[in-house]
């Protein structure tokens, strides 16, 4: 139960960060928080429901890897943007619209 609450709180913080922070890097961090908490939730639920530890672990690891890849792509995007157009806040990224 504690784990569930923890996951919910962390996921909430991640979501809140994504939705309210203006810096792209911070948003990236929020995303990682969301993924991480969901992963923890998965492990918790899996162990709770008596899943095979090996399988559950493997799946958790896969999710982790995906999250890492996601972060890598995200960071590279951030770097590109800040290098190319010196922008770092999403408020400056509203050129494409309509």
């Amino acid at each position: 139960m504690t784990v569930l609450v923890l996951c919910a709180v962390v996921f909430g913080i991640g979501m809140y960060t994504v939705l309210t922070r203006r810096e792209i890097v911070a948003i990236l961090a929020g995303v990682e928080l969301m993924l991480g908490s969901a992963n923890v939730l998965f492990i918790a639920l899996a162990s709770f429901s008596g899943a095979d530890a090996g399988v559950a672990g493997a799946i958790g690891l896969v999710i982790l890897v995906i999250a890492a890849a996601e972060a890598a792509v995200g960071l590279s995007l951030v770097v590109t943007i800040s290098r190319r157009s010196k922008r770092s806040s999403i408020d400056e990224l509203t050129e494409v619209n309509g």
């Binding site: 996921f11 991640g14 979501m15 994504v18 792209i24 948003i27 990236l28 995303v31 969301m34 993924l35 969901a38 992963n39 939730l41 998965f42 492990i43 918790a44 639920l45 899996a46 709770f48 429901s49 008596g50 899943a51 095979d52 399988v55 559950a56 493997a58 799946i59 896969v62 999710i63 995906i66 999250a67 890849a69 996601e70 792509v73 995200g74 995007l77 951030v78 590109t80 943007i81 190319r84 157009s85 922008r87 999403i90 990224l93 509203t94 050129e95 494409v96 309509g98």
Partner: protein
């Protein structure tokens, strides 16, 4: 040897479901290597060849006389369905990817083209896997792989606008990924680690209905994001507009067709569970909203790419019309697959023509008004674009008609006549914006003559070739007319759900 005998002879090869994906990946690697040591052009060509081979292979597999219901390939976590049913759509995924690269990706940034081609190939492979996924984890992994490829493709344009769109796409996509992971956590976690579709029904049914529903709908939402349905659509116009046209062709065609296929197959499984009884309604509402929103918003656009983006939202809506009745089984699933295929060919052709235009008309700003007079300067490409747009409108004699017809037919059989009418009227409205492009190309004189043909200095884009456009348009027409001559059953043959 008769056709059947040849096919029987080839059966062992054709039954290796992962072979096309492997070829595509290998081609991607080879292309990158070639880029390093030889010309960029060679790299793109190698990747294109690989994709063509993958497409042919998948197509041949689809033609296999009634084999087993797809070959099950054991993987670490479960199974991937290949062959049979899915090979037809997989062939389309590879074919449209091939069209995307075939023109040499000429509108992309010089120096990045081989990399883009490699990304497309990997994405197509991911698409095939997504399409054939029979396991939630496989579904998730391929979905994410496709997503990462997509972010990179958008950003590959190298413009400020593309960067911005990619960043926004990324943020949104991450939220969607979060939803997907949460969904997996619930479904697989509570399901004691069971992730295969085969057992999904029983696993979900054993769970508390609320939990299974939550997990299922989280996954559905993540897929709806990938498909680009309202209200998960926001990334679509930005990405399609700013990505290099060749990359956009891949995003709008291969990626979307694969996502639709994956969505359908997951949804069919979910709907076997009692708790999901009302999910069909939710999907139909998403479908209606997508059709209405996409068609209306597209009307006001001035950029061709962005207009196609909004129209893609509407097209996703048509696909979902089929999805929400797909649990009826057999023909309904085939109808969605068929629709995805027809849309993909049309969209790929359209974007490939845009790429050609962009490479041949450096002054063109991508606007609808800007294509004025292109019909006289680029007749073949203009006709190809017209055919593609007519196909996406759903006008008969193009393959798009058959896609829409069967989707709506299925929906009508499922009792969703209201949705059919919304969809059909939406199709009619869609010519309001597709037609404007055609009108501009054919009926309008270019605004200022002196700009035309002005010598381009500096970073000249490669001169793209027109053959992928023509090829795409030819496929649209031939497959659009063929059923009239050889019968409607032909339409189903490739996509039969068995």
């Amino acid at each position: 040897m008769s056709f059947d005998q040849i096919m029987e002879f080839l059966r062992p090869v054709l039954s290796i479901g992962w072979l096309p994906a492997a070829i595509a990946c290998a081609a991607a690697v080879a292309g990158l290597v070639a880029d390093m040591f030889a010309a960029e052009k060679t790299g793109v060509a190698i990747v294109s060849a690989g994709l063509a081979a993958a497409a042919l292979l998948s197509f041949a597999t689809a033609l296999l006389p009634m084999g087993p219901a797809g070959t099950l390939i054991a993987t670490t976590f479960g199974v991937v369905l290949t062959g049979g049913t899915f090979a037809g759509l997989a062939a389309v995924v590879y074919f449209t990817a091939f069209l995307s690269c075939g023109g040499g990706l000429s509108s992309g940034r010089a120096g990045s083209r081989a990399a883009v081609a490699a990304l497309v190939a990997i994405g197509a492979a991911a698409g095939q896997v997504l399409l054939g996924a029979a396991d939630v984890i496989i579904l998730f992994v391929s979905l994410e792989l496709l997503a990462l490829v997509a972010y990179a493709l958008v950003a590959s344009a190298g413009s400020d606008r593309a960067d911005e769109a990619a960043a926004r796409y990324f943020v949104q996509g991450s939220v969607a990924t979060g939803l997907a992971v949460l969904g997996i956590a619930v479904i697989v976690g509570l399901g004691a680690g069971t992730s295969g579709y085969v057992d999904l029904g029983t696993t979900l049914a054993a769970m508390p209905p609320g939990a299974s529903l939550l997990g299922g709908m989280l996954l559905v939402s993540a897929l709806a994001f990938k498909v680009g349905a309202f209200p998960f659509h926001s990334w679509v116009p930005d990405a399609y507009e700013t990505a290099p046209a060749g990359a956009a062709a891949f995003l709008s065609a291969s990626a979307k067709a694969a996502a639709i296929g994956g969505f359908t197959l997951l949804f069919v499984r979910l709907m076997t569970v009692q708790a999901f009884a009302s999910a069909g309604l939710a999907v139909s509402i998403i479908a209606a909203a997508s059709i209405i929103f996409g068609n209306l918003a597209a009307l006001r656009q001035t950029s061709v790419g962005r207009m196609l983006g909004y129209s893609a939202i509407a097209q996703a809506g048509y696909a979902l019309v089929g999805v929400c009745v797909s649990p009826l089984g057999g023909d309904s699933v085939s109808a969605v697959f068929l629709f995805a295929a027809t849309y993909a060919v049309g969209a790929a052709t359209a974007f490939v023509v845009l790429e050609y235009f962009a490479s041949r008309e450096p002054q063109w700003d991508g606007s609808i008004a800007g294509v004025a007079g292109f019909a006289t300067r680029h007749p073949a490409a203009s006709v190809a674009l017209t055919i593609a747009l007519l196909s996406m409108t759903g006008i008969p004699l193009t393959v798009g008609f058959w896609g829409k017809f069967f989707v709506f037919y299925g929906a009508a059989q499922g009792g969703l006549l209201w949705l059919v009418i919304i969809g059909l009227v939406g199709s009619a409205i869609s010519f309001g914006y597709y037609g404007r492009v055609v009108r501009s190309m054919f009926f309008d004189a270019p605004s200022s003559r002196d700009e035309v043909g002005a010598p381009q200095v500096g970073d000249a884009p490669a001169r793209g070739s027109v053959w992928p456009s023509v090829l795409g348009a030819a496929v649209v027409i031939i497959t659009g007319v063929a059923p009239l001559i050889w019968g409607l059953s032909l339409v189903y043959a490739l996509f039969a759900f068995r």
